[in-house]
């Protein structure tokens, strides 16, 4: 008799092996772009005085008054007791020549408290305000002063109003912003 013993042991090994893990596609994982960088360089605005403002010869009266200097070298009495005289000084509109870049536009600021002082120890003064600006062949501007360069240049014509006191306030003599006690007219030019 044959006996068969079979012993078999087996460990069920029907295991499914799962391999997991993410693998990103090797293709489009980065992207590069070229970016343009730009700036415009402009020359600083420069200004030179072409002509000093000259109100010419005036005669204060018994009451205060004003003298108005135009942008075309003419003057007139604004108000009050001052009269004009045709003396040795020819009235002249102020001229400032501006330089910069291209056809850029700019604004003009006038300093306040412009004061002319008598060239002696006496504290006799007159003030100037209400500036009138004419840029190249443009029209007269009395506010929001602005202009445009043409090929990097512009000519500013400047007029204004001189406040004159009585003959006691303003005795005869030369009055100028450059004298001690005077305060200059300063223009501030700014690119827009």
């Amino acid at each position: 008799m044959i006996k068969f013993h079979t012993i078999a042991s087996s460990i069920a090994c029907l295991a499914v092996l799962g391999i997991s893990g993410a693998a990103h596609a090797a293709g489009q994982s980065s992207s590069t772009h070229n970016v343009i960088v730009e700036t415009t360089v402009v020359s600083p605005l420069g200004a030179t005085t072409g002509q000093v403002m000259k109100f010419g010869d005036i005669v204060p009266g018994a009451s205060a008054g004003t003298v108005v200097l135009s942008t075309s070298n003419t003057r007139s009495v604004g108000t009050g007791g001052v009269t004009l005289a045709s003396g040795s000084t020819t009235p002249a509109t102020g001229v400032v020549n501006v330089s910069g870049t291209g056809n850029a536009s700019f604004t003009v600021g006038f300093s306040s408290g412009v004061t002319l002082a008598l060239d002696t120890d006496q504290p006799k003064t007159m003030t100037v305000d209400s500036f009138v600006l004419k840029v190249d062949s443009g029209s007269d501007l009395t506010s929001n002063y602005a202009g445009t360069l043409t090929a990097g240049a512009a000519a500013l014509k400047i007029g204004g109003t001189l406040h004159v006191g009585t003959s006691t306030d303003n005795p005869a003599g030369d009055y100028s912003t450059a004298h001690t006690g005077g305060s200059p007219l300063t223009l501030t030019l700014t690119y827009d």
């Binding site: 008799m1 044959i2 006996k3 068969f4 013993h5 079979t6 012993i7 078999a8 042991s9 087996s10 460990i11 069920a12 090994c13 029907l14 295991a15 499914v16 092996l17 799962g18 391999i19 997991s20 893990g21 993410a22 693998a23 990103h24 596609a25 293709g27 489009q28 994982s29 980065s30 992207s31 590069t32 772009h33 070229n34 970016v35 343009i36 960088v37 730009e38 700036t39 415009t40 360089v41 402009v42 020359s43 600083p44 870049t101 291209g102 850029a104 690119y191 827009d192």
Partner: protein, 187 residues
Amino acid sequence: MCNFFRYVLILLGGLIVLALPYAARAQSTSASATAIVATALQVSKTADFNFGRIVPGATVGTVLLSTSGTRSQTGGVTLGNAGSTSAAAFSVSGENNATFTVTFSGGTLSDGASPTNHTMSVSAFVVKMSGGTDQLANYAGTLSGAGTQTFAVGGTLSVGTTASTPAGTYTTSNSGGTAVSVTVAYN
């Protein structure tokens, strides 16, 4: 993983040797693999850098362009009209919620003048992801649940004196210039 089976043949004094191999069960294993194909990363530029109008001075200086397109300066350069001032801007799309990095290279602006051009450089980039804060280095971002993101880039322009920087339009695309190269990559 082991599996074994053995079979034992017992012979009992028989003259007959019978070999009865144990039925070998078919051993099968199967392996499956999965891979995620990531959505391709796409970047498009929606704005270039523009530092607007500047006025060099007697000493060197810098113009800082913020990620919101505003400018400030140091040193001898003056800011002119803002004009077309703009921070650079990018739009990114790719795998939902993926993280990415941003790197920069290059950045020379030239006026393209001949025979010798004049240059200035841009550096120290600042990156701001939409809804994020300004990053000064190790620029990084995360795509939204919809796989998108936008970011703005500012930087610093180094400006010479009026002597070395005459008037003109300076751009990276002029002869003598080098574009800023922006690379966006999945982590």
